[in-house]
């Protein structure tokens, strides 16, 4: 009985997650620029159609824009999650560096 409820719980959570994921994916469109957000204030914006390398937080992270996509190259944080997030280009996609309280978001 409880095993059955477990299964229902697991399947419904997966279904909700998948549904929300698809919803976000299907409504995504290509973005025009990335916003660099520190805590909750936007400190800089870069257009995605201009290639370049931009040091953030005095060089603690390096933002790279290349072929309309943005990614973080070097981060002096302990987990490097932001580097491994990879490239973003669609509206609402984001790279988060929790140790530096930094978010790079496509707008």
């Amino acid at each position: 009985m409880r095993t059955r409820r477990d299964l229902i719980l697991i399947l419904s959570l997966l279904a909700i997650g998948l549904l929300l994921f698809l919803l976000l994916r299907l409504t995504a469109r290509e973005g025009e620029r990335v916003a660099v957000i520190l805590e909750n204030t936007t400190v800089a914006e870069y257009p995605l159609n201009v290639d370049g390398e931009f040091p953030l937080l005095g060089g603690k992270n390096t933002l790279v824009i290349e072929n309309g996509e943005a990614y973080i190259k070097d981060s002096q944080c302990p987990d490097h999650t932001c580097e491994r997030t990879g490239r973003i280009s669609k509206v609402r996609e984001r790279i988060v560096c929790l140790p530096h309280r930094l978010t790079v978001k496509v707008v």
Binding site: R2, T3, R5, D6, L9, I10, L13, L14, I16, G17, L18, L19, L20, F21, L23, L24, I37, E39, N40, P78, D79, T81, E83, R84, T85, G86, R92, R94, V96, L98, P99, R101, T103, K105
Partner: protein
Amino acid sequence: MKNSTRLRRMTTLSLLFALAMIFSFVESRLPTFIPIPGVKLGLCNVVIIFTLLSLGAPSAIAVSLLRVLLSSILFGNAAAFFYSLAGAILSLAVMILSKHFRLFSAVGISVLGGVMHNIGQLLMAWILLGTAGVMYYLPVLLIAGTVAGALIGLLAAYLSKRAESLKL
């Protein structure tokens, strides 16, 4: 409570706490599969669920909160402490309730624990980063929490069954 019983309980709890710390350490050294903040296996939850099932809610709360405190000091940073704490409190509360009302088996309890841990962290990120935008990660964290929770739950269920003969 008799002295020997108390001593036994204290020893068991200390061992479980030590085990939780080892799992925390191992986990802090493991690379994550998905590069999204907050996605992890949650190995420690094996110990927390085991404690909850075999020793009850107060013991599970003690082991979990002490682990959050000590592992943040040893392997994390100040930010990690707040994220872990939010995740641990929400996850514990929901796991204790679902055990109390006998709604789910260990697997269901663990799935809820995993998902709630992620939701607690998201809520803390919302507070610390000051933006509801962190909810962007909710779908992925729901799926990751469910899968990791189910695996951890199977392990905890197996261990609890094996440990019945220990009469903790």
